[in-house]
Symmetry: C2
Subunit: 128 residues, 2 copies
DNA sequence: ATTGACTTTTACGTAAACGTAAATTAAAAT
DNA sequence: ATTTTAATTTACGTTTACGTAAAAGTCAAT
């Protein structure tokens, strides 16, 4: 397994190194360190970073994303733990589903507005 | 046509009056005023507010939302104007479509993780 | 070995999106 | 008529999510 440096990840995702370090400050990502203290990121870290950025695009706060990440990465062995995790996951899934429906409605509206504008343009072109 | 007061809208959408005034500061909404200076909101204003809040849930900035609102509300008569508006609208529509696809992928992933957890729970219950 | 690119921590700065408080005025209720 | 409730403006405060700069150490290349 090989590693990424912080600037490599930064370039890949077109974000700053400061941003990546900030996510670490907030406990969202935990790279290992070399003897000298340099951060090294695994593929898994990279995947987590990708998740964070996607969450951000949907308007989730880092805090919310943090919670969602812990879904993946905690080893939840106990039965109670599992049940709690599932309940939380179902809740989040519901939220995501609602957002999708909401977005699709927005899309519809935008499409109908666009159709209206296109029609207006047609009429203008016709009367030329 | 009847009007809403600011606190009525605030209650309906579960936001603060400060928030609504802030949107006005930013030019997103423009209620009329009584003689004494009290804000009065029409149904249309209410619809705009709803739009703002929906935009926010998708992670759009107030600035972006501002631009999108002007799509609805400007009377764009000229041909050039219409073409620009349509182009902008198509762009935004594309963004929304991408977000939907992105969200659906997230949903899939969450579902498969949940399925995994449920399976684990089953095994635990079975071995009881 | 030295230059240059990269990394680290520390720490102050900032824009967006409000919160909150104060002082004042107006509307609604008793 | 007078409380109570709601509204206004002004203005400073706060949180989130980073930006930016400084000082110092490290890695890669010539």
């Amino acid at each position: 397994m090989n590693y990424y440096t912080i600037s490599q990840l930064a370039e890949q995702f077109d974000i700053s190194t400061r941003t990546i370090r900030y996510y670490e400050e907030r406990g969202l990502i935990s790279p290992i360190r070399t003897e000298s203290g340099q951060r090294l990121y695994t593929k898994k870290d990279r995947a987590v970073l990708k998740l964070i950025l996607r969450g951000k695009r949907f308007g989730f706060s880092l805090e919310e994303i943090h919670e969602m990440i812990s879904l993946f990465d905690n080893d939840r062995t106990g039965r109670k733990q599992l049940e709690k995790t599932i309940a939380y996951g179902e809740q989040k899934l519901k939220e995501v589903t609602e957002r999708i429906e909401d977005l699709m409605q927005l899309k519809q509206e935008m499409e109908s507005i666009l159709a209206d504008f296109r029609e207006r343009l047609q009429k203008l072109e016709g009367s030329e």
